[in-house]
């Protein structure tokens, strides 16, 4: 019955609304086209979510979206081309996305960039970009989503930070700072929102076999997981409404040790 009038010009087919016996949850994944983002989007779609895939890279989004909808046999993903550093466009994009999805239950922020400076290099342009994408973009989106969830008294916010946010290290102070900021922001958000029935999950991946690790200057993979494994672990954490998870779990213990290295020693180490 596609000749019914529509509230707005819609180029994408609309997903079916939830019913009591098919309670499709509605999720937004910001940074959906990359490694963990794409893997988690596939996972959530398989779990029955209706998804808005948001990213800068339209071609990658389109092929991911086609793949998800084809394997589901129905419209389960919609795409939105969006640059997270265009902060002024976030509110309108969010409202559009929520209207198209027919509500919102879960918000996931995975967008992130990394540059690997040389040991004696200080590159403000790259640091600036990392803070913009990794931290300010997340704050821009969550500033829109958090009050909605607070008002609706429910919902789940998933922020993908990093083990790199746990300490400032010799190798990449800018990236560490952007992720430390995100971890800290998510914690504050959690303390604000838990009392309103909203779950805030901080995900701290260690190394993941994505394109990030193929960049020049990237460290050698250690305890590295496939994006698919990371997505499965994030989904487990989401289901259990956890507060913070390390993926893989072993990083919880590694970082426990690293967080407790006294500065007197830490500043003399070469990692």
């Amino acid at each position: 019955m596609s000749d019914s009038p529509k509230a707005f010009d819609q180029t994408q087919p609309r997903p079916a609304p939830a019913t009591p016996l098919n309670p499709r949850r509605r999720g937004v994944v910001v940074g959906a086209s990359g490694g963990i983002g794409a893997a988690l989007s596939r996972k959530l779609a398989r779990e029955g979510f209706t998804l808005a895939l948001v990213d800068r890279n339209k071609n990658a989004l389109q092929s991911l979206c086609d793949e998800i909808n084809k394997s589901a046999g129905e419209t389960r993903a919609l795409i939105y081309e969006h640059d997270v550093t265009k902060y002024d466009s976030v509110a309108d994009t969010a409202q559009r996305v929520i209207a198209d999805l027919g509500g919102l239950d879960t918000f996931v922020y995975i967008a992130g960039v990394i540059y690997f400076p040389a040991m004696d290099e200080f590159n403000f342009a790259e640091d600036h970009k990392m803070v913009e994408v990794n931290l300010l973009g997340a704050m821009a989106w969550m500033s829109v989503v958090a009050p909605l969830f607070q008002s609706a008294k429910g919902g789940q916010i998933v922020g993908v930070s990093s083990v790199a946010g746990d300490r400032g290290r010799i190798g990449n102070p800018g990236y560490n700072a952007s992720k430390a900021g995100l971890t800290n922001y998510l914690e504050g958000l959690r303390n604000r929102l838990t009392r309103h029935g909203v779950n805030v999950l901080t995900v701290k991946p260690g190394m993941v076999k994505t394109d990030m690790l193929k960049l020049p200057g990237a460290p050698k993979p250690m305890l590295a997981l496939e994006p698919q494994q990371v997505a499965d672990l994030i989904w487990d954490g989401m289901k259990q409404r956890k507060q913070t998870i390390y993926v893989a779990g072993i990083w919880k213990w590694v970082m426990l040790v690293i967080r407790h290295i006294p500065s007197a020693i830490f500043r003399r180490l070469s990692f």
Binding site: M1, S2, D3, S4, P5, K6, A7, F8, R14, A16, P17, A18, T19, P20, L21, N22, P23, R26, Q95, R96, I98, A99, D100, L101, G102, G103, L104, P147, L148, S151, A152, K153, G154
Partner: protein
Amino acid sequence: MDITKNFTQLENFGHSLSAPAYLIQPKTAEEIYEIFQFAKKKGLTVTARGAGRSYNDAALTGGGIVLDMRGMNAITSWDKSTGLITAQSGATLEQLWQQVEPDGWWPPVVSGTMKTTLGGCLSANIHGKNNFKMGTIGEHVVEFTAVLPTGAEVTCSPKKNADLFYSMISGFGMLGIFTSVTMQMKRIYSGLISVDALPIGNLHEHLTALQDGAPNTDYIVGWLDTMNGGASLGRGQIHAAHYLHEGDDPDPAGTMKLENQILPPYIFGVFPKSILYMFMRPFVNNVGWWAVNMAKYVASQRKHTFRQSHAAFHFLLDYVPNWELSVGRGGLIQYQSFLPKETAEDAWREMLNISLKRRMPSYLGVTKRHRPDKFLLTHAVDGFSLAMDFKVTDKNRANLSRMLHEFDRIVLQAGGRFYFAKNSETTAATAQAFYGDETIAKFKKLKKRCDPNGLLESDLYRRIFG
């Protein structure tokens, strides 16, 4: 207009479905039109919500704007000499009967709950236990006014704008927003109603009793023991009720007083009914509910006649407040099918047997007698309806969904219909099958005329009309 703070998690009546939306309470027709203009600018959908008593997605539009019509709930005129009442669309049946009953009148058609609003009642074109005699609520509407998304304010009656009258009533709120409704009330001569209770042994007896009993009574309703199979499948109890005639009640002024109608908030005078649902929880499972149905059946064996107040007879769903919470986290859905009198027995026998065999019995079955009506998206047939309540759990969702879609096929094959206030899983294909292409084309033509930008869109509309 910043509507962030209006973002609200809204549910259906059975608490089995939720969708967040921007909830706005308009006070005037002008405000409704302003919201339409805002929605158009923002590309948001709009849906009216009354009391939120639909079992499905009729009053939800996830991510869009929901108009909370309870802000427009005044009774604007009441003439106790003619029985004509005019109220804003957010007024409830509760307000209505409490206004007219002390003067010797009663709403001619009411639902099983008094919490519903007039706008909601007209949108779904509700029926009561007297559908076979008095038809749907729309048949007693003298006139209504509505705001269309185009900004036009229309007044409709069976004579004036008749096409809109017969399509907006039953149109589940997708053509315009009701603002005011004028209805004709029915004269009564007592606050009491006389009820005959009759035990029923099986499905054939059940439908025969409904069909044969209806012509001689004002109301008829059956309870069907959905948890019992075999030779006595379809057993239960029929309640047939008739108004008292002038002179039957020695003290009509006394029995029509509100304090003699209002449902008591306590059981045995001390136990608050508001917390009763918590104590029901442990029994809402296959074993517990079988015992409840069994006990009800045993208690129903005595054929007897009694008098009770109108409110107590009609509003059974309000007797235990929040009873729908007793089913627990997954909530509750209702599956109601309307079948022609010739095919009902075989179809329901098959459906009841399937539900028992798969161990997904309905916990409550209610039957009624119906007649067809002239409204465009009518659910009525010359036959019967069977409403079945199902508890939803994380475990039974997939199987229950499969079973209900099988039921849909059985009902369609038997020439049956469904109702927009109840079923939550009806697909677009099923709706198309029972309405027929001509009806749907007619409705869509009206939709284009009243709502050219497609602003009015509930989740139900998305489900049925895509």
